[in-house]
Amino acid sequence: MRQEIDFLKGARGEREKRLKFLRLVKTFSLLLLLAYCLIVAAFFSYGFYLTTASKQIARETTLKKNKIEALKEVETLQIVLKQRLSNLLKFFDSQKTSDFPALLDYFSKTTQGINVKELSLSPDGKIKFSGEAAEMTALGQSLENLTNEEASQFFSSIVLSSLDKKEGGGGYLFTILLEAKV
């Protein structure tokens, strides 16, 4: 029986292994180049998109600005109106002064028979009311009016500051200090 003996078997196996490795390196490097080319292409495409989009947006921005410029008058009206209304809103919200017409109305109704000498009202609600009553009953009625339930809606404090009888049978002079609800 004849048997073949391959004396180069070991060397050939190593060469095939080496060739296989080289083929792998070559394939991998070509694949790497391909992938890199794709990345570069994508990169430049995105760059192109950025340039185009930027130009498009610049065109649209100019167009919108021109349109807004044409509506400048309406914009000015809106800004002026807004400025005035927002300031008026703050102004009316911060108003904490006495309701002078209501207070004067109340005094005119409740001081029958009283000769009003002085009536001063200040925005912080302080009121000085001086008058002269010919008779004690008129003064009494007036004081009663100032201390009844209706008066409590207007005033937080009522103080009879002075009461004098005029000499020679005259009337009564009085001063009342009040604090109106603000």
Binding site: F43, K65, V74, L77, L88, D105
Partner: protein
């Protein structure tokens, strides 16, 4: 150990590819990348500006010019852009006469500059709006004074009665002295840049408009009335 150049030949292509990648990355892609990052950031900003402009344009196109013009006229009549001394005097005179009151004296204090832009106006302490004061002396009954105060505070231009002092000597009609604060508001210094967003009028401000729309607007307010006034130094600083 001796290196055989023939052995290295198969590695030439991969080495060339890697070299090419490195060179292109370093000298082409890297500088381009920096530019592109900046371009991307700029594009994002530009897109936002365009979106804001689109929104603003849509708002402006939705505004009715005639309606806004009328509303602004009313707001300007109530809150003039400048110290409207003749207008204020005319209103005081007209309202006083309408209520049967006699105007004894009107003194205007601290009028200062007639016109200025809003950020140059120095506001009084705790004040919301710039103003000047008028001291008014009137003769008439308590009822007349009550109506006068009520009407003066609801007539354009905006005025507010601060202090009221009524005095009566013997049988004469009572004399009332009052301090009236007259308000104004200069125009804003800058009016609308295209990029500046429009701030919409709120419902609270709409209510305020309804309130001032109910004010009385006297005709011919701009003429200086012929009043028997006391000190009337309109232009002293």
């Amino acid at each position: 150990m001796k290196i055989n150049l023939k052995d290295l030949k198969p590695f030439l292509l991969p080495a060339l590819i890697i070299f090419l990648i490195l060179v292109v990355t370093a000298f082409v892609l890297k500088p381009k990348l920096e530019v592109m990052v900046k371009s991307h950031q700029q594009l994002t900003k530009d897109k936002k500006i365009l979106a804001d402009l689109t929104k603003k344009l849509a708002t402006l196109e939705g505004l009715a010019k005639v309606e806004f013009s009328e509303k602004t006229d009313i707001a300007l009549a109530v809150l003039p852009a400048e110290k409207d001394v003749p207008g204020n005097l005319a209103v005081i005179k007209n309202v006083a006469l309408n209520n049967g009151l006699i105007v004894n004296d009107i003194t205007i204090s601290e009028v200062g500059e007639i016109a200025a832009v809003s950020d140059e106006i120095k506001l009084k302490k705790d004040a919301i709006l710039p103003s000047f004061r008028l001291n008014v002396s009137l003769t008439g009954s308590l009822e007349m004074i009550k109506n006068f105060i009520s009407q003066i505070q609801s007539t354009a231009p905006l005025m507010e009665v601060k202090n009221v002092s009524l005095s009566q000597k013997k049988t004469e009609s009572p004399e009332t002295k009052m301090e009236i604060e007259a308000y104004f508001l200069p125009f804003p210094k800058t009016l609308g840049k295209p990029e500046q967003q429009l701030i919409a009028i709120t419902s609270g401000e709409e209510k305020i408009f309804s309130r001032i729309n109910g004010f009385t607007f006297l005709k011919g307010q701009q003429t200086l009335p012929n009043l028997p006034v006391g000190k009337e130094n309109l232009f002293s600083p």
